[in-house]
Amino acid sequence: MIDQLRQRARELLTTGEAACIIGYADASVPGKATPIVITRAEDADRLVFHAACCNNLAAYLTRPEIRKLGTVAMVAKPADVRAAFVLMQENQVRPDDVKFIAVDVTPAGECTLLAQRTREELLDYLVKNVPPAELADDALKDVAALEEQKDGERWHYWQQQFSRCIRCYACRQVCPLCYCSRCVADKNRPQWIETSAHGRGNLAWNITRAFHLAGRCVGCGECERACPAGIPLMKLNRKLAKDVRDSFGGHAAGYAFSGEQLFAGYSPSDPNDFFE
């Protein structure tokens, strides 16, 4: 599999279809992988793909330095593809500037290189074979469990979690969809979100982060993985993914690369029951 992947990468670079490849290389720490950007065909052999390749590489698509390089090919797991699709939907990357070297991991844990290359093919593949991870039943179990508790208990639970937040914004940094060049959290006129890491600022920040990803989060789980304080951020993301699905005709993020963004539109038949 890895040889095919490298072969494909070589092709893309030699034919000039892509100016660079964003992929994974083995990290200095054994068993770990690290993102890598290669521009020369001969470097293709450094590319790897295995279970430890977890970063969502779509995050790099919006980096200015990558943009400069022109057409990009990315080694893309389903979540990465979905993220890239959302970026296309939100005009952050020009669809034709991104080529995919799509990979997936079979339930058996076996890494495979997908035959699908174009975004249309991949969209079809996703729709047919890859249900949204963030909406998997067992993934939603802990959400449901929390929903069943009393609001007081929920409040207490999240306060405990958020109290550990040190506002390092690693969650924001790894998220492919937190691409704003100036995050609202860094806006100080006015300062909607207090910067100091106390309960009030942390609550405001974490609510904002979660809500800004509502209907957009592709459930790659990078934020939670990156969080040094181990805050279960995906629990918030899943909750929102579920509510969005239930409220807006089964919407799931990243299953379209064009068309209207969920929260830029509306339907007269949207839920109205919570209004007096």
């Binding site: 929390l146 999240w158 306060q159 809500f211 949207d270």
Partner: protein, 148 residues
């Protein structure tokens, strides 16, 4: 001791709810004095930051209100707002904020009576819930830090 008087922030659109509140006035309808109205052109303008900030400034409850669906002066601002809140209110609830702390309502320029009873109702709900101590504790800590 005296009955707890909740502090309530209301974010309303100028064309329907604000006009409705004026009508309640011209009709001399009496209602609870706890609400502080912040007038905005349209419910579409109401950012979720407003609601959080209101709690951070000690509001015990928040009221958000505008034109009925289909009646928006700008044709669709309220629809956009409704879609955002559909999800946002659930998020607040999930974070442990009692649903009754935030009330959403459509009040037209003709519904002065509805506005009056709405304010009373929201005030009553807030009274039942009592002071928003959860949030206010966060506030005390934050302000405490600020002083240091």
């Amino acid at each position: 001791m005296a009955e707890f008087e909740p502090k309530i922030a209301a974010f309303v659109c100028t064309w329907c709810t604000y006009a409705g509140a004026d009508l309640a006035g011209t009709s001399r309808l009496q209602y609870a004095s706890n609400v502080r109205v912040i007038k905005l052109p349209c419910t579409g303008r109401i950012d979720f930051h407003f609601i959080i900030k209101a709690f951070e400034r000690g509001a015990d409850a928040v009221l958000v209100s505008g034109c009925h669906p289909g009646d928006c002066h700008y044709t669709a601002g309220n629809y956009h707002a409704r879609r955002r809140w559909t999800v946002f209110r659930k998020l607040l609830e999930f974070a442990g904020i009692e649903p009754d702390r935030v009330t959403f309502a459509w009040v037209s320029a003709a519904e002065g009576a509805k506005w009056a009873s709405l304010v009373n109702e929201v005030t009553e709900k807030a009274r039942k819930l009592g002071p928003f101590t959860r949030y206010q504790r966060l506030n005390e800590i934050a302000e405490g830090e600020a002083e240091r």
